[in-house]
Symmetry: C2
Subunit: 306 residues, 2 copies
């Protein structure tokens, strides 16, 4: 099986990128898009984020074989309820949310029994959000994690995998609970920490905000990029993956306390050993093609104007 | 006054970049370089990191009007002692270290009374280190903070400012103590946190290291870049700017605890407000030209191969 028509609900960075990627990589597949914000629908029409931009979610999902919910994870239940009555029998409902247990629960509660719910999470994004942020190559060489519930139809899981592969992603099937643990450490905790330190830096009395901005190239600016991500999306992630995030945060705090103590007592050997160990992880990420080895990720530094 | 000959002690990322930048931007100025590691001297000769690569630090500083120590801040005293007897009378001794009070103390102790010591810190760098990492444009559009001690000769401070301006940097003069506080938050704390989280992620039992690497594009990979920085350099920074780092760490921990509590009790409003506030800082950094606004800093994502 494959999907002749895909409906995209929510036309921000992720939804827009899916629409553009389908147009490029699956030209035989029709897309219909919807966003709750009329201004976003207008912009989506101008950019051609889907073949048809509809004025209601129900219109967008009519006749769709695959519906992808691209809304914040806290809005999944409401979005699903809006389309429940309009779904084509046998269609697959999926999403792109960053927490998977909560999404499965919300969709199962909002949709009629027997609906094929197969949550997914493409691990890709940028710091930009909204209908202007999407681009067709967003998913290339990125992982998409599919988290089918028990009893999911293998043919439908296979079709969803093939869909994401066609957009350039590497697909992995994972248990939703394990997904939430893995992403808590590779994505949610980094975001929480980046949001924290950017807040800390802007609240100091003895260092001005303008100094923080001026001298940000010493490391701080990378955190500001992550801390510029969509606030609604991230609020929902933390509220919906609470247990795993708090667990990882506990581990992080223990490790930070140990390094803090090493600094306080002047234990250079412990610091050096720790800082050497972390280099290996970076090498592996470069080798696996998950980042760019050029200095500063290939920021335009080398061609800075004189 | 200006400098006819500049000696560079330490030929890694910073020292090498200074040599290349002088050759490009101050072609009338001679450079002599030295590194304690013979393999680095060999590579520096091949890359032409200075006009002359010497076999001793004393040879390199002979006749130099400006000596720049580009060694880890913990090695400043030793490096200064090595050149003390060979300095040309009236020459200026500077450095590129990330902590300024400790460097001033170490240089003052190691050099004869009356030596003109004017510490400086170009706030620029990449995650790469060693003699192959340097490039001429490293300092363009970056800030260089000069921290003259009380009683420094204004003409010499002016000459050092002019030198850094010629390499493309914006120069700011600052009290060493204030420098250490500002950099603790814009550079040292971000590095400590990045080193911590990368360590945390690689020590988990319930998430494998290969999963951490695979799904790093969700945010984690940015931290690994910072945590790939030179371990010796960073060990020394933390040991030499201990008070300011511990002070900033205390503030960070308080703020993290507040967000942790908001997650635990499900206070979405507090999370949303915090995450919205941090976006403004990012905008200012972009406006001030201290980072690249392209998604993912202009990583090669948009041209990812199919």
């Amino acid at each position: 099986m494959s999907f002749d028509k895909v409906a995209i609900i929510g036309l921000g960075l992720l939804g827009g990128s899916i629409g553009l990627a389908v147009a490029q990589d699956l030209p035989g597949t029709a897309t219909a898009g919807y966003d709750a914000d009329p201004a976003v629908r207008q912009r989506a029409t101008e950019r051609g984020l889907a073949n048809t931009i509809c004025d209601s979610a129900a219109d967008a999902v009519a006749d769709a074989d695959l519906v992808i919910l691209c809304v914040p994870v806290g809005a999944m239940g409401t979005a699903a309820a809006e389309i429940a009555a309009a779904l084509k029998p046998g269609c697959v409902i999926s999403d792109v949310g960053s927490s998977k247990q909560s999404v499965l629960t919300a969709l199962s509660a909002a949709l009629p029994e027997g609906t094929a719910i197969i949550p997914a999470h493409p691990v890709a994004g940028t710091e930009h959000s909204g209908p202007d942020a999407g681009f067709a190559a967003l998913f290339r060489q990125r992982w998409c994690i599919i988290t089918p519930p028990e009893g999911a139809d293998p043919a439908q899981v296979e079709a969803l995998s093939a869909f994401w592969s066609a957009l350039g992603a590497n697909v992995e099937v994972m248990d939703p609970r394990h997904h939430d643990l893995v992403l808590a450490v590779t994505s949610h905790l980094p975001h929480l920490i980046a949001y924290t330190i950017v807040g800390t830096a802007s609240d100091l009395e003895n260092v001005t905000r303008s100094e923080v901005i001026k001298y940000s190239a010493g490391g701080f600016r990378d955190f500001t990029r992550i801390a510029a991500s969509d606030p609604t999306m991230w609020r929902d992630v933390f509220l919906n993956n609470k247990e795993a995030v708090l667990q990882m945060l506990q581990r992080f705090t223990e490790d930070l306390t140990a390094l803090q103590r090493a600094i306080r007592v002047g234990d250079g050997e412990q610091l050096f050993d720790h800082f050497t160990r972390t280099r290996a992880i970076r090498r592996s990420i470069i080798e696996e093609g998950q980042d760019d080895d050029r200095p500063d990720f290939g920021r335009s530094d080398h061609e800075r104007p004189a």
